[in-house]
């Protein structure tokens, strides 16, 4: 137990310590002492700042991500269940997925201006593709025996969707959602760097432009923490929802 804690804590502690000590006398303009960055972190990210800049960012992120998830899964199920439709739209979808999402920012700015709406739409447009394509693939790959069983026992209509097809495609959908989450964070930042009057991306770029270097570093660290926490939350949710899948895989590996 102690050993495990040590393993988890040791390297981060050493790295942090090394950074702190080595940078302590740093005269370099770009890498100020960690001490200064930490001080700046406390000063910069006050409750007011969090409310004014971080909360709007997060709200846009969640709005866009949830919308993309709902639309992506719904369309994905519809396309995955229809073979001809799938064959027809798949190349189009692959093309849209291959477009680097950030180039959508200038396009969507044309339509939606530079407000909150634009940022949410950018996030939806950017992160819907992995969700959509993974759902299509997951639905397509539902085991034929599973489908036969459902039919033979009269499991049809909504129950077929919620009890059979969605759970069966669940692991694949989760993989899509995971990819989409990191894209969503990227797009949240980029859309704010491009055109915004508040938000994390906007603030960090402001610091950089005004050469407030310790503050900029503190913003980068905050963004890193945010990415870490969100992926942690996602993993926890995934583990809960797909406990059966992990167990099944472990059982298959033994067998």
């Amino acid at each position: 137990m102690i050993k495990r804690v040590l393993y988890v804590v040791a390297l981060p502690a050493v790295l942090f310590g090394a950074w702190f000590v080595l940078s302590d006398n740093s005269e370099s303009f770009y890498s100020p002492p960690l001490r200064d960055i930490l001080t700046a972190f406390g000063d910069t990210w006050s409750a007011d700042r969090l409310r004014a800049d971080v909360v709007p960012s997060l709200l846009r992120l969640f709005a866009g991500y949830l919308l993309a998830a709902v639309i992506g899964v719904a369309l994905g199920v519809a396309i995955g269940l229809n073979r001809r439709l799938r064959a027809t739209v798949e190349p189009v979808l692959e093309f849209f997925r291959a477009i680097p999402p950030p180039v959508l920012v200038p396009v969507i700015m044309l339509f939606a201006g530079i407000g909150d709406g634009m940022k949410v739409i950018v996030i939806v447009f950017g992160c819907i593709w992995p969700i959509l394509l993974n759902t299509v693939e997951g639905v397509r790959a539902v085991d034929s025996v599973v489908l036969d069983t459902a039919r033979a026992y009269g499991v049809t209509g909504p129950a077929r969707l919620t009890k059979v097809i969605l759970p069966s495609a669940g692991p694949q959908i989760a993989a899509g959602l995971r990819q989409a989450l990191s894209i969503a964070i990227i797009l949240m930042v980029i859309s704010e760097m491009f055109a915004a009057s508040n938000g994390l991306g906007f603030t960090i770029v402001q610091f950089q432009r005004s050469f407030a270097i310790p503050e900029m570093w503190s913003g980068i660290i905050l963004l890193g923490l945010l990415g870490f926490v969100l992926s942690l939350l996602f993993r926890l949710a995934e583990q809960r929802a797909l406990r059966w899948y992990e167990g099944l895989r472990a059982a298959q590996r033994q067998g």
Partner: protein, 267 residues
Amino acid sequence: MTSVRRGSPVRLGSPALLGAAGLAGLLLVIEMLPRLGLVDDRYLPPTSRIAAALADETGNPQFWASLGDTLVAWALGLAIAVGAGVLAGIVIGSIPVLRNLTASTVEFLRPIPSVALIPLAVLLYGTDIGSTLMLVCYAAFWQVFVQVLYGVADVDPVAYETARSFRFSAWARIRHVLWPTALPYVFTGVRLAASVALVLAITAELVIGAPGLGKEIAVAQASEAVPTMYALIVVTGILGVLINLLARTGERRLLAWHQSVRGEVAT
């Protein structure tokens, strides 16, 4: 969850034909939407005008130079990331103490959005290609590194013990047991990294203004050359599709001998 698709002869209603119809349909819709006045053609020009702008671009040396810049940044960044990722992955993955020690740090660093580094890149390299490379390497490295870690962890303990019982040297163990097992994972990592690298290369150019297609898009947007902007976006999409196809075909070719023993590679 991976399945092998078998080719089938092209006939009416075949997937290839339906797919072509789908693409044609998309082009038609984009042509008609602005023509029918459903969408302002200052925002979405019809297909024909985007195509004309694309044709113009192909006659423009600046376009080819930008495409070259993007590809160089992509290839260079990818190569560095793959080299570093494979090396670090094998060393850290095959030494249990190192793996345990670094696990928490990797878990912390990996989800950090690479775009967080944009301000830092700008300060360090300005609008140089170095900015692009920094972001590309950072993002692509994790894709390769994590896959290599999975691959090394997947080595059959029995095979490893066998190699040890025959007194294989450490190098021979890596060469003959570890590497062949990890290879499919390495390819998966390279495939994922190849698309991520393109996204980051274009993003860096777009946001920072480093030379490349991304910068051209930003310029087209600023000068309100909307059809050109769309044409360039189409080019980035085609580039993405090509890189995907290339990576997938390469993976399948090189791993043909491996398919039978190959389990599911986590995506």
